[in-house]
């Protein structure tokens, strides 16, 4: 039931219009951070206010909304945001990726490929990909204007020199349309390749930092790397214990006092759909070993993880 004390989708129409104008600019200049007059929302900053403002300014009566956090529809913050829109718009909500026209997400891209008729809205905490290297926005704006991204390349190079690998596991920087360096938001780098040439419109909202940006459909998105250290995504030694998927991003759960781990799909809708289609996983938790504590060849199957 729609709450009629507030305007449709909470924000007033003029504010929505301003946000849509900023979004048009963002779409016209892929990967460029457009400053916008972010409003206080009835959610705390850092909890999705940017994404909520984009969703609020786009949502219409015919939309079907899906909200996920960590890939799942039933995490508390996703529930809260979905209820907010159900209450202020009365639109249909869904947990099915394929049914949704508008998907707001935090930290994941759904496993199921998106289509041209869908919009993916990301919640972004820190829109500036170089914020940890250069805290001043005055400076980073200049660096973007000049395409001066040496700082980031040096940072990645230093990781390889010191650790043998790039130590960014999420929020892994990408080049959009070979022009702007962009933060993909804290999605795992596993999801980065999904952004490339995606048929869906991808919109990013950072409420606290007051920036919007976009990746239009079928836009090139390249994760930064080096010829001799090509970009690669996370892989697991295990498949999902529930649905047996070996190509999805997995969450790890500690299921007993001995520290046994259960690996399951982070995308709850994807996992459920696979199970409905008859796929079954091992249903087994596994034991992990400390690579440094025990020589790998001495490990027996029943040994528990030290530490």
């Amino acid at each position: 039931m729609m709450d009629t004390h507030y305007n449709f989708a909470f924000l007033d129409e003029r504010t929505k219009k301003r946000i849509r104008r900023a979004l048009l600019k963002a779409v016209a200049v892929p990967g460029y951070q457009v400053p916008f007059g972010s409003r206080e929302m009835p959610f705390a900053y850092g909890w999705g206010t940017g994404g909520v403002q984009i969703t609020a300014s786009l949502i219409g009566l015919s939309d079907v909304l899906k909200v996920i956090d960590q890939g799942a529809d039933d995490t508390t913050n996703a529930v809260n945001i979905r209820r907010f829109f159900a209450r202020t718009t009365g639109v249909t909500t869904t947990e099915k990726t394929r049914e949704a026209t508008l998907i707001q997400t935090r930290h994941r891209i759904p496993e199921m490929p998106l289509t041209e008729s869908q919009i993916l809205v990301y919640q972004v905490p820190m829109p500036e990909p170089m914020s940890r290297l250069e805290p001043s926005r005055r400076e980073t704006i200049k660096m973007h204007a000049l395409s001066e991204y040496g700082l980031m390349h040096v940072r990645l190079y230093e990781d390889i020199a010191q650790l043998g690998a790039i130590s960014r596991a999420y929020d892994y920087p990408v080049m959009v349309n070979e022009r702007y360096l962009m933060s993909p938001s804290p999605i795992p780098k596993f999801d980065n390749p999904k952004m490339h040439m995606n048929p869906a419109l991808q919109l990013f909202g950072a409420g606290r930092e007051k920036r919007l940006y976009a990746i239009p459909p079928y836009t090139q998105v390249r994760s930064l790397d080096f010829e001799d250290h090509p970009f690669e995504v996370q892989r697991w030694d295990h498949a999902c214990a529930l649905c047996g998927a070996s190509e999805s991003y997995l969450d790890e759960m500690i299921v007993d006092d001995a520290g046994s781990r259960l690996f399951v799909c982070s995308d709850s809708d994807y996992c459920e759909e696979r199970r409905d289609a008859g796929h079954v996983g091992t249903q087994q938790a596994v034991t992990l070993h400390d690579a440094l504590a025990t020589p790998p060849e001495a490990v027996t199957p029943n040994e528990q993880e030290a530490a």
Binding site: Y6, N7, L11, D12, P35, G37, S38, R39, E40, M41, P42, A44, Y45, G46, W47, D69, Q70, G71, D74, T75, T76, N77, A78, N80, R83, H107, R108, P125, S136, R137, L163, G164, A165, S167, A169, Y170, D171, P186, I187, P188, F190, R208, K210, Q234, W236, L242, Y249, D251, E252, M253, V255, L262, V264, S266, C271, Q283, L288, A291, L292, P296
Partner: protein, 383 residues
Amino acid sequence: MYVAVKGGAAAIESSWRLLETQRRGDTGIAALSVAQIREQLSLAVDRVMSEGSLYDPELAALAIKQASGDLMEAIFLLRAYRTTLPRLGYAVPLDTARIALVRRISAAFKEVPGGQLLGPTYDYTQRLLDFALLAEGESTGASPVAMNMPPAGLDATPTVPSERTVAPETPCATVPRINDLLAREGLLETPQPFDAAPPGDLTRDPLMFPADRALRLQALARGDEGWLLAMGYSTQRGYANSHPFAGEIRRGFVSIELVPDELGFTVDIGDLEVTECQMINQFNGSREAPPQFTQGYGLAFGGAERKTMAMALVDRSLRADELGEPRVAPAQDEEFVLSHADNVEASGFVQHLKLPHYVDFQAELELVRKLRAAHAELIKEAA
């Protein structure tokens, strides 16, 4: 078999109920009314209005009640309400010289035209708990707290203003600002806007750097009192030298006036209680400018002396570039000070760490495990 955890929705509903129980406390004790909060916790109400950027004592009191006295939460509630309100236009600049004074002091001059008025202040109370209030009775009036006057024997210092016995009840009596008197003599700079453009509005447009002074003052006015206090304090301790004097602090009611487009003349739409602080700072002059005093400015709703004094110190330190001073301290770094002054933003982002991050943590786990495995290989090869 493992079943994925469900029930976020049910948990949220239970949490609402528990929150309500926490807010109400012992039901054997009478509930606080919004009117009681508005009247008896008025300084809390004033802070919530200032940092919530909305002058509405009743809604601020409601927010305090709803937030169980958590002022930052109350400020957030008020902001989230404010965002839904239409903006009608710009008021005529407040004339704080036309003021119904509640309090006015100057630490720079012993006597000032219009007089000094101590008014309600905790400054000259001895900070002794008044146990008469604990006994649920009215204060006996015998304690310095209740009598609101300096106890006998307190050393008089030059900054102790003379107390005036008769409060000026005449609304809109003109009490000239000390700064104006100094400026007339050329001793104090009179900063002018750099251009004729109307001031920006940071509730409508994002704050970009460098910001002009109007925007900086807006950001400071709604900035966190604790943050401003710490920043202002740092300038006194040598992180940017400011040599301030409290030229004038005044608190009182001023008229807020608007010129509606369709009328074309000024309409008084009500009164605001404000506290205003004008700091006077030493300035040795530069090649272009002769030596004169410079100013820092603070303004907030209601009784907000600590806030406005701190604000004035920070305003002055942020003028470093404009006055050709070297920027050496955090309090002079506009982007640093203003980007972190808003407690609704800060509180939200710090507390968002409570949200699940297990996808990112999983990514880190995978990375650390991989690095450790590579490390183990290295050790094996070396052995």
